[in-house]
């Protein structure tokens, strides 16, 4: 029992340290044997998953937990790097670990014929470590550092198929956009540090004044993190990078995108949460901006997905649309944040938005994995040249059907559960927004039915007569996600009450997060 407590106490550090250490051990281990390396990568991520589960078993019932690096107790915490884990952080960590684990299992057969796989696994683990760090850290400069590591490692993964000119082009686009973005995050951090002499998110939140400089910092942070999450009109890098990275890496990059999304929430609800609570006007205006941008994101994503002929690029645009739904839910939560009469609407909206994060991650990754499986079997990207694959790839077809229904928000799947919450709450704010959101969802269904028809149905093509079902590890990875989708769809209440509700509550009751740190200050210094 004692050991368990010790592990829980140190798990915030271990969650980041284990994959980071594993990343740098991977090149060494791949000297031994390829199989050993693959098992090692899976083992490292499984171990990380165990720590995440241990930590969540403590954080969800008992509230935020602080981990101070280099100190046993709260001695001069101002100077230390802190990790602070609350319901939202641990929720995001669970999503990231699931995605990373699935990606590594999928890579086993999918990337088999590539060379330089030791670097691939190193980057994969590095990206996982950095996005977990992004989600757990309580220090805003530390946040910037992890953001840059995410940027570097995902850029290298996007360009992994370096023999394709398009992949390198997409990677360059991504790194230009995110390097400039990260520098502006650093600028915003410097603006905050210069005024308040603190780098800790909770400390900053407790003293922030909402001066003119704070407004500039808010704009910079929300714009940059929104851009890294793929918010229209700053989404142009996303379809390129999602469409060109190896699909097994794409699903971890989805996790990294959502870690930036988490950054937006942290900024809006914790860092500026107190101000938004007191000054309803600014929370309403920021909330409306996010709602409108979210809706435009949905629209643009769906419309652009309509005209794509490249399988993975089409899925990437639908991923843009899904991100829009999350912003829609969170924006509504922000609009009604200061209004006590609308509290239940806000809560529903936030729950819908947060629940949609995990659903979006699962649905879109399943589709990418299917697209990867199709590419693996046929070496074909364009939908125009596919057809009749259902005859040769039975399981993949079933998985695609599940992903299709989930991403369009059809009832038995998980997408329905969260989208319904979002529609409900958006309807209370403005019915028209809700109608547009539902229409886009239907369009999404139409698009994917078209894809299903052109890729999987139809007569058997002579070119594809030797196409076989993909290897077992890829089927296993797709099967894991598909079964999660179905379980979440049939029993949404389990997920909602166990992990989504604590996450949404921790965003709304931002005070707990701040109190945890600020109280330790007065005791320690």
């Amino acid at each position: 029992m004692n050991i368990l407590n010790l592990l829980i106490q140190h798990s915030p550090a271990l969650i980041v340290a284990v994959p980071l250490f594993g990343a740098f051990l991977t090149p060494l281990i791949s000297r031994v044997n390829e199989k050993v390396r693959n098992i090692f990568a899976i083992f490292v991520l499984a171990l990380t998953g165990v720590f995440v589960l241990l930590l969540s078993s403590d954080v969800i019932p008992n509230g935020p937990r602080v981990y101070i690096f280099g100190a046993k107790d709260h001695t001069i915490p101002v100077l230390r790097i802190l990790f602070e884990v609350d319901g939202m952080s641990i929720f995001m960590a669970i999503v990231s670990v699931i995605l990373a684990l699935v990606a590594v299992i999928y890579s086993w057969s999918f990337m088999k014929e590539n060379s330089g796989l030791d670097k691939y696994y190193t980057l994969l683990l590095l990206l996982t470590a950095s996005m977990l760090g992004l989600e757990l850290t309580g220090d805003i400069f530390n946040f910037f550092v992890f953001l840059e590591i995410t940027c570097i490692s995902s850029c290298a993964l996007i360009a992994f198929w370096v023999h394709e000119g398009e992949a390198v082009e997409a990677a360059f686009k991504y790194i230009v956009v995110s390097a400039i973005g990260a520098l502006f995050v650093l600028f915003a951090i410097a603006l905050l540090y210069g005024q308040y002499d603190a780098l800790n998110i909770a400390t900053l939140a407790s003293v922030i004044q909402y001066t003119f400089l704070d407004k500039i910092a808010l704009v910079l942070l929300v714009v940059v993190l929104g851009m890294k999450a793929g918010l229209v009109p700053m989404h142009m890098w996303l379809p390129d990078s999602y469409g060109r990275a190896p699909p097994s890496a794409t699903i971890i990059i989805i996790g990294a995108t959502q870690a930036s999304l988490y950054g937006v929430f942290r900024v809006c609800f914790t860092l500026y949460g107190g101000i938004f609570r007191d000054m309803t006007l600014s929370s309403v205006s920021v909330g409306w901006i996010i709602v409108i941008l979210g809706l435009i994101t949905v629209l643009v994503g769906v419309i652009m997905a309509l005209i794509q002929i490249d399988f993975r690029r089409l899925i990437a645009y639908s991923a843009v649309a899904e991100i829009g739904y999350i912003f829609l839910g969170i924006g509504v939560g922000l609009v009604v944040l200061g209004d006590p009469t609308m509290l239940d609407v806000g809560k529903t909206a936030m729950q819908g938005g947060v629940f949609h994060i995990i659903n979006d991650a699962l649905d879109v990754s399943l589709l990418f994995l299917v697209a990867g499986a199709v590419y693996y079997a046929t070496k074909e990207n364009s939908l125009n040249r596919m057809g009749g694959l259902a005859r040769n790839m039975k399981y993949t077809t079933v998985f695609f059907l599940i992903g299709l229904l989930a991403v369009a928000g059809m009832p038995p799947m998980n997408g329905f559960a969260s989208k319904l919450l979002i529609y409900e709450s958006v309807y209370r704010i403005n019915p028209i927004l809700s109608i547009i959101a539902i229409l886009c969802s239907i369009l999404l269904l139409a698009i994917f039915v078209k894809v299903f028809h052109s890729a999987f149905l139809g007569p058997k093509l002579p070119r594809f007569k030797d196409v076989k079902e993909v290897p077992k590890s890829m089927l296993l990875a797709m099967g894991v996600i598909a079964s999660l989708i179905i379980i979440f769809g049939i029993f949404p209440q389990i997920v909602l009450s166990n992990i989504v509700q604590p996450a949404a509550d921790s965003l709304i009751n931002y005070g707990d997060y701040i109190r945890q740190i600020v109280s330790s200050f007065s005791g320690g210094v």
């Binding site: 570097i152 850029c155 790194i175 410097a190």
Partner: protein
């Protein structure tokens, strides 16, 4: 500080960098632009921690007669800047290697000709 010159320099550098990224057609020049923005931001961090006539914040070797801690410059922004410089080097190296690969594939560094992705 004289007329806030460092802050004016910061703004100038950020805007020069942004100009290069937005309007230059050569990939290498875009990379240089990003590098200039980075230097601007680093300068901003350093300027925040600067005190006129301050000494290096090393407790064990303070010059005689220094007021403690008012006479020292702030150490935290310097630590931040060092981290930021290290990250900047990594990003720069990655960007330049990508530029190299783009040149191999496309035979040009002109952004107008590198747009195979645009459909």
């Amino acid at each position: 500080m004289i007329f806030n010159i460092p802050f004016i320099a910061v703004v100038a550098m950020v805007f020069i960098g942004l100009y290069a990224v937005l309007f230059k057609r050569n990939l290498i020049k875009i990379v240089i632009g990003i590098s200039i923005i980075e230097s601007g931001v680093n300068l901003f961090l350093i300027t925040l921690g600067y005190r006129e006539g301050g000494v290096a914040p090393i407790y064990t070797s303070l010059p005689a007669g220094t007021n403690y801690p008012e006479g020292m410059v702030l150490p935290v922004p310097q630590a931040l800047t060092l981290t930021s410089i290290v990250i900047g080097v990594a990003v720069l190296a990655l960007m330049l290697s990508l530029v190299m690969y783009i040149y191999r594939h496309y035979g040009t560094l002109d952004v107008r000709k590198i747009r195979r992705l645009r459909e």
